[in-house]
């Protein structure tokens, strides 16, 4: 097995010009991902990252796996269909907190119900990075921004509580500053059969002066002896606010979207290899001949 994360570094000319700000947490997440892929023994051509729009969503360009940089908020439905069309692929949907919780909020909710076997990674910097610092659904109460000069008064979105409330299949939170632990969580999320949601706290050094590296270290703690199969306990932990618990909150094993689909009941072949069942069409037409 190749244990060198370098195989996940793209050599394409366009991927050399990384648009993230120096010191941004996105770099750390990229290192975590590469390490997790390597430790899972994955090859670049076995993994697909579908991203939305935002700084976080630029990941496919800076990592050497298949990628599709799509639309703001739409990574999840696209990733769902990629996995459903070819279950042999390891599929990751990636985006920021604005991408996944605001514009894509409805898709997240329904993906939890649908439970495709994909991993959803949310780069949660509690701000809109790419559009230069407006409040996101997870921006903290009272924080002032150029577009919320009076300070945010909307209740921050709690993705963990939402996911547990909806009986999501796998729910975790980490802070990208903790490399080893984050690698383990991402590995578990990818290996988990079903929808895995990982909220990854990361600083935006350019626009979020409140939630810094130090802030995250001081306002988070790792859950010890937490039983992720206990939903009530998971929910209690999910609504804790300060310090924020880190780790796997909840695991719920249930059938995946692909497993339940009639497409794969008997035949596991990816859809791209299949041919139309002409005989079946003829049979239906024949019924329409007779009655």
């Amino acid at each position: 097995m190749n244990l060198d994360p370098k195989i996940f570094e793209p050599k394409r000319p366009g991927s050399q010009d990384v648009a993230w700000c120096p010191g941004c947490g996105n770099f750390g997440i990229r290192n975590i991902l590469k390490r997790a892929f390597v430790e899972l023994g994955l090859n670049p051509w076995e993994v697909v990252i579908i991203s939305g729009i935002g700084q976080a969503a630029k990941m496919p360009h800076y990592i050497n796996v298949h990628g599709y940089h799509t639309l703001h908020g739409r990574a999840i439905p696209i990733a769902t269909a990629v996995k459903a069309s070819n279950p042999e692929l390891t599929v990751i949907a990636e985006g920021g907190d604005g991408d996944m919780y605001a514009e894509g909020g409805n898709h997240l909710i329904h993906a939890i119900r649908r439970n495709p076997n994909i991993t959803v990674l949310i780069h949660d910097n509690q701000i809109y990075g790419l559009t230069k610092g407006q409040a996101s659904p997870t921006t903290m109460l009272g924080m002032k921004t150029p577009t919320q000069p009076w300070g945010v008064f909307e209740e921050p979105f709690n993705p963990i509580a939402l996911a547990v409330a909806l009986n999501a299949s796998f729910v975790a939170r980490t802070f990208m500053g903790y490399f080893k632990e984050s690698v383990e969580i991402i590995k578990e999320a990818i290996q988990h059969k079903g929808l895995a949601i990982v909220d990854i706290l990361h600083p935006c050094v350019s626009f979020n002066k409140l939630n810094t590296y130090t802030w995250y270290r001081e306002h988070t703690y790792w859950m010890k002896d937490h039983d992720p199969y206990d939903r009530e306990e998971a929910f209690k932990r999910a609504i804790e606010k300060d310090p924020l618990p880190l780790g796997i909150f909840y695991i719920n094993k249930r059938p995946t979207f692909e497993e339940m689909s009639p497409a794969y009941k008997k035949d596991k072949t990816p859809l791209w290899k299949r041919v139309p069942k002409v005989e079946e069409i003829k049979r239906i037409l024949d019924l329409k001949r007779r009655f």
């Binding site: 394409r12 366009g14 069309s85 409805n106 139309p276 002409v278 037409l285």
Partner: protein, 570 residues
């Protein structure tokens, strides 16, 4: 004594939930199996109970495929039906049924024949058998094959137990006997000839043709959010998902539906969404993504009148401009609009090859009229359908957006080959990585909006010309109006007029322009502003001389087109 020769238009009318659909299904199938050509189309209100819904069934010596306004035989299942169809009836209309279902003021204006449908059904056991009695009467008028009728009822009600089956058969036979008696007593005379070969025809609806055509074209993924009149396609495919081993998913909204379809194609599946105008409006952002990322996708857009929620259960060709302009930025697309049920099948199958080959959105435009119409067709020719796959293996250093002469970059998919595939909705370089380079931005815009479009144009299909190519008058139409215009022209039987029908709506080939030269052009469309005429002007500089437009939510009838054309020609 009314006499109907060659072609009879029967209309059944009743409240939603009263079961006219059962009569319609029974009759069309039984009459077809008795050797008659049949055509049926319904019109219904956007409500689950009550109101007035009607179904027109044409029974004919020849293959009729178009809506007529005239009603020869009317069966009202409730009061309110005659006022609803007032403009379609005359002294020649035979109303079969009970006095209580006919408003007094109409008794004078039609030929009323009292048929005690309720009384008979009650005698059989319950008023529930009313439908079957009525179906029996009509079957009797046509001397349909009674064995076929019995067999059909056995199949249809088989699941409900032997008693129900027997009662229905009894109801049907009593109705049938009565129908024959009406003929013998010469209360109604019908002369429609049977044709043995019709018995082997396939009775297919527009909805079924779209769904089956998609399957024939290799569709294996359908994502949708329900919206009339497009939902039928999803219902049909969901019910056959297991047999075809395909994915059919009802998703949270149209935005998700189209994005899923894009994802499925990205991974090599052949995906479709089925929707109507309001749903398509929500999909436009992703149509634009398909344009930029050169992601194939097939959309079935079943039109109904808008704007907004408009008339949910009625018909119109009002969304052409939406389909033409959906999405921001400039990129090509293909718009198809089948004119017939057969074409709905073949074109839908073909749409998947086109999407795969050119990596653009392919929009199949139907409307409520087409999806809800059905008639008997001789056969489907499967050798006309070829599933052409254009996916290539990803090799090392694969470039998703490789610049080529014709603007088409070979499309690889993740999972086939060891190269890396990067697709992108942002402007990109050949590899798919983001670029803001001046030169490259320009080249990529041209690749999509000019070179690719030119390549598609070259292979675009020509419209179908019916009649003399040198005729002075040229009628043009697109989509579902094919048969109604064709039949109207047949009736008018004027030498100097030809019909040009477009089922490949966009992009149009340049050489089509010649077909219009020196002719008087009459545009027929079911919308307010003549959207197709605008397209002809914009693309080819063709000016139409007359427009015949209809936009009351109802389909064009043969009579209306005849009258309108007479007005233009005189």
């Amino acid at each position: 004594m009314p006499k109907f020769i060659k072609d009879v238009s029967i209309v059944l009318g009743g409240a939603a939930g009263q079961g006219i659909q059962t009569v319609e299904e029974t009759l069309t199938r039984v009459l077809k199996l008795s050797g008659y050509n049949v055509y049926a189309n319904k019109e219904y209100m956007s409500r689950v109970r009550g109101g007035v819904n009607t179904t027109e069934i044409r029974v004919s010596s020849e293959k009729v495929r178009a809506f007529v306004r005239r009603i020869d035989i009317l069966i009202p299942f409730k009061r309110g039906v005659l006022p609803w169809v007032e403009k379609r009836i005359s002294k020649n209309t035979v109303v079969l049924g009970e006095k209580e279902n006919v408003e007094e003021e109409f008794l004078e204006n039609v030929t009323f024949i009292e048929v005690p449908l309720s009384k008979i059904s009650k005698e059989v056991g319950s008023s529930l058998y009313l439908n079957t009695v009525a179906a029996g009467v009509i079957a009797g008028l046509f001397h349909a094959d009674i064995k076929v009728l019995e067999e059909y009822l056995r199949k249809r009600f088989g699941g409900k137990g032997e008693e129900i089956v027997e009662k229905n058969i009894e109801a049907a036979i009593r109705g049938y006997t009565l129908g024959r008696k009406l003929c013998e007593e010469k209360k109604v005379e019908i002369e429609v000839s049977k044709d043995e070969s019709v018995k082997d025809d396939i009775l297919l609806s527009g909805t079924e043709a779209i769904a089956l055509g998609a399957l024939a074209g290799g569709m294996n993924f359908l994502s949708f959010y329900p919206m009339s009149p497009s939902t039928g396609v999803a219902v049909f495919l969901a019910q056959h998902a297991e047999d075809f081993e395909i994915i059919v998913e009802q998703v949270e909204d149209e935005i998700s539906a189209i994005n899923m379809a894009l994802g499925a194609w990205f991974a090599g599946a052949r995906a479709m969404v089925t929707t109507s105008g309001g749903g398509f409006a929500l999909m436009t952002e992703a149509i634009s993504l398909a344009g930029m990322a050169e992601n194939p996708v097939v959309v079935h857009l079943a039109q109904r009148p808008g704007p907004a929620t408009g008339l949910p259960t009625r018909t119109m060709q009002g969304d052409l401009n939406l389909a033409l302009h959906a999405g921001h930025g400039e990129f090509p697309r293909i718009i198809l609009a089948p004119g017939t049920i057969e074409e709905a099948f073949y074109l839908t199958a073909e749409a998947f090859n086109l999407a795969d080959k050119y990596q653009v959105p392919v929009i199949i435009m139907t409307d409520e009229y087409l999806v809800d119409t059905y008639y008997n067709i001789p056969d489907i020719e499967f050798d006309r359908i070829k599933v052409e796959k254009y996916v290539v293996e990803a090799e090392e250093d694969y470039k998703r957006y490789k610049l080529t002469e014709d603007g088409i970059s070979p499309r690889a998919i993740p999972g086939y080959g060891k190269g890396i595939v990067v697709a992108n909705g942002n402007e990109h370089d050949e590899y798919g990585d983001i670029t803001e380079d001046e030169e490259l931005s320009r080249i990529m815009q041209e690749k999509r909006a000019i070179r690719k479009l030119e390549t598609i144009k070259k292979s675009a299909k020509l419209p179908k010309l019916i009649g003399d190519e040198n005729a002075r008058y040229l009628v043009i139409g697109w989509g579902s109006t094919f048969h109604v215009i064709r039949e109207a022209l047949e009736q008018l039987n004027i030498d100097d007029i030809a019909f040009l029908h477009f089922s490949w709506v966009y992009p149009l080939r340049e050489d089509i322009r010649e077909m219009f030269d020196g002719r008087v052009i009459i545009d027929i469309e079911s919308n307010v502003t003549g959207q197709f005429a605008q397209l002809l002007k914009r693309e080819l500089g063709v000016e139409v001389d007359y427009k015949i437009l209809k936009y009351d939510g109802r389909p064009f009838s043969v009579e209306e087109i005849c009258n309108a054309l007479k007005g233009v020609l005189k």
